[in-house]
Every structure is written in C-alpha cells, then in structure tokens.
C-alpha cells in the first residue's frame, strides 16, 4: 500500500530529473568502485551504486525488484563480501599493493577497448529512434503469478542452483590442512 503511494508521489514529481540525478549517482559510484585501492571503500561505493540503482528500479515502476535489490544485493551479498575482506584481513597493505598495480600502462589498453565497445553500444541504442513510450508499473502480483506459473521450472532450477551453491561453498570452504598444488610444491619446500 505504502509502496504504491510512494510510486504515485514519484510520478507526480518531475520524474526524469529524478532519474538523471540517480543515474549520475550510480555511474559515479560505479566508477569509484572500479578505481578504489581499498577494498572496503570500493565495497561502500558499490553499496551506494546498488541503492541508487534500486531507486531507478522504483522509478521504472518495479517496486518489488527495487526492494529485492536493497535487501539481497546491498544487504546480503555485500555483507558476504565484507566478511571475506575481514577474514582475509585486507587493509592498508592491500591498498598500497593495489596502488602499485593500477598503473596507466596497465589500464590504458582495456579502457580504450571498453570505450570502443561503449561507443558502439551507445550508437546502436540511440540509432533506433523509437517513438517514446511511457514506462508502466508492473506490480509484484503479476510477477508472482508469472513466476509460479509459466516460470515454475525456472524457479525449481534456481532452487537447485542455490543448493549447488550451498553444497559447493560448504565443500570448498572446509578448513583442511593446507594442500599445496603439485606445481607449487617444488617452489616451496616447507
């Protein structure tokens, strides 16, 4: 109920302005993610990026997805990242290391490549000049009906995927005696 009211308020406001502001926030924070040296900083920027993206979902008329984005992505998955970073104790040394690694010599080539790809994408998207459409709200009820109707197999497959993920993680994450790879054994005779 509340969500729909919020959507309505957003619609009443100047929506395109909202969109451009949040899009800018998203882009900026994403660029910050990929350029930060400190993993924790990058992670915080990624959270900002995800939150702003969830606002965009909200504006696009998908409030349920917006909430999922916040709860699962920004909430659950990012927490996982934080845990790992804490476990690995990545701190200032890592930041220094990253700083040493990120040299123009390394990133200039990929950036040029990505720019070419981006240019092509932008050209293709804008080239079509479709008549402007209004984006419509698709409420969670329709999503739920679709999800447990025609996409039921997909849901079951997703369930299996999750279970495989759980089992795989549990197996990989077992703290066993450190087993060195056979190639590395020769290098570290410990």
């Amino acid at each position: 109920m509340k969500i729909h009211q919020l959507t309505y308020i957003a619609y009443c406001l100047k929506m395109d302005i909202f969109f451009y502001i949040t899009a800018f926030v998203t882009l900026f924070s994403t660029i910050m993610v990929i350029t930060r040296h400190n993993p924790v900083h990058a992670l915080l920027y990624l959270v900002i990026s995800l939150l702003s993206l969830s606002v965009i979902f909200f504006l696009l008329g998908a409030p349920f997805v917006a909430l999922l984005e916040i709860i699962i992505y920004a909430g659950a998955i990012m927490v996982l990242f934080i845990f790992v970073i804490m476990l690995l104790n990545l701190g200032k040394e890592t930041a220094a290391q990253e700083k040493a690694w990120l040299k123009p010599k390394i990133w200039i080539g990929p950036v040029i490549l990505s720019t070419i790809l981006l240019a092509e994408l932008v050209y293709l998207i804008t080239m079509a000049q479709p008549p402007s459409y209004t984006l419509q709200t698709v409420d969670s009820k329709a999503v739920a009906i679709s999800l447990f109707g025609p996409y039921l197999i997909g849901v079951e497959l997703a369930a299996m995927l999750l279970m495989a993920g759980v089992v795989g993680t549990a197996h990989i994450g077992q703290q066993k005696k450190t087993v060195l790879h056979r190639f590395l054994k020769e290098e570290e005779p410990s």
């Binding site: 993993p39 459409y133 984006l135 990989i172």
Partner: protein, 103 residues
C-alpha cells in the same frame, strides 16, 4: 504521467554500467575487485531486463531479474569461498599469479 523516462536513457545507463563492469574486470588484478565488477555487470543486465519489462508492461523482465539475483547469490557464495581457499594456498589474490591452467 508527465515527462516520462525514455527507454533509451535507461538502456544507455545499463550499457554504460556494463562497460564499466567489464573495464573493472580487465583492469583490476585483485580477485575481489574482479568479483565486484562482475556484480556490477550482472546489475546492468538486470536493469536492462527490468526496463524492458516495464516498457512492454510484462512481468517477465522482473522474473528474469529475480533469476539473475539468485544466480548472483550462488555465484558470490561459491566465488568468495574460492577466494578464501586461493588466499590460503597462495597467500595472494593476484590474478596474474594464478596462471597454472595453461593449455
């Protein structure tokens, strides 16, 4: 329904985010950063789906986003577990040092 958001703009945003994700994966040497960049790419794809679903007033776009979300959750959990093991074995997260799987 005044001044609607145009679909191209949303798609542009999705495209730029995706390219940023790719750039991140290529540039960074730390596996954690690469994994973060992959998350960005997945988000961009989800954004494109949701926008398209919203454009045609169909729920399929959001359904796809939910699947992407599920996949991302599984991928992150396995990926992070792998990172933990790699760090324990190699004492490093440098992707350039992990080149044993040569043909």
């Amino acid at each position: 329904m005044n001044a609607p958001i145009s679909i191209e703009m949303v798609m542009l945003l999705a495209g730029i985010l995706f390219i940023l994700g790719i750039a991140g994966v290529i540039i960074r040497k730390n596996i954690i950063f690469m994994l973060l960049s992959v998350e960005i790419m997945l988000n961009a794809a989800g954004l494109a789906f949701v926008a398209a679903g919203s454009r045609w007033a169909q729920p399929d776009g959001q359904v796809m986003f939910i699947f992407i979300l599920t996949m991302a959750a599984a991928e992150v959990s396995v990926g992070l577990a792998l990172i933990l093991r790699i760090y324990h074995q190699h004492k490093s997260l440098d992707i350039d040092k992990l080149k044993e799987m040569k043909g």
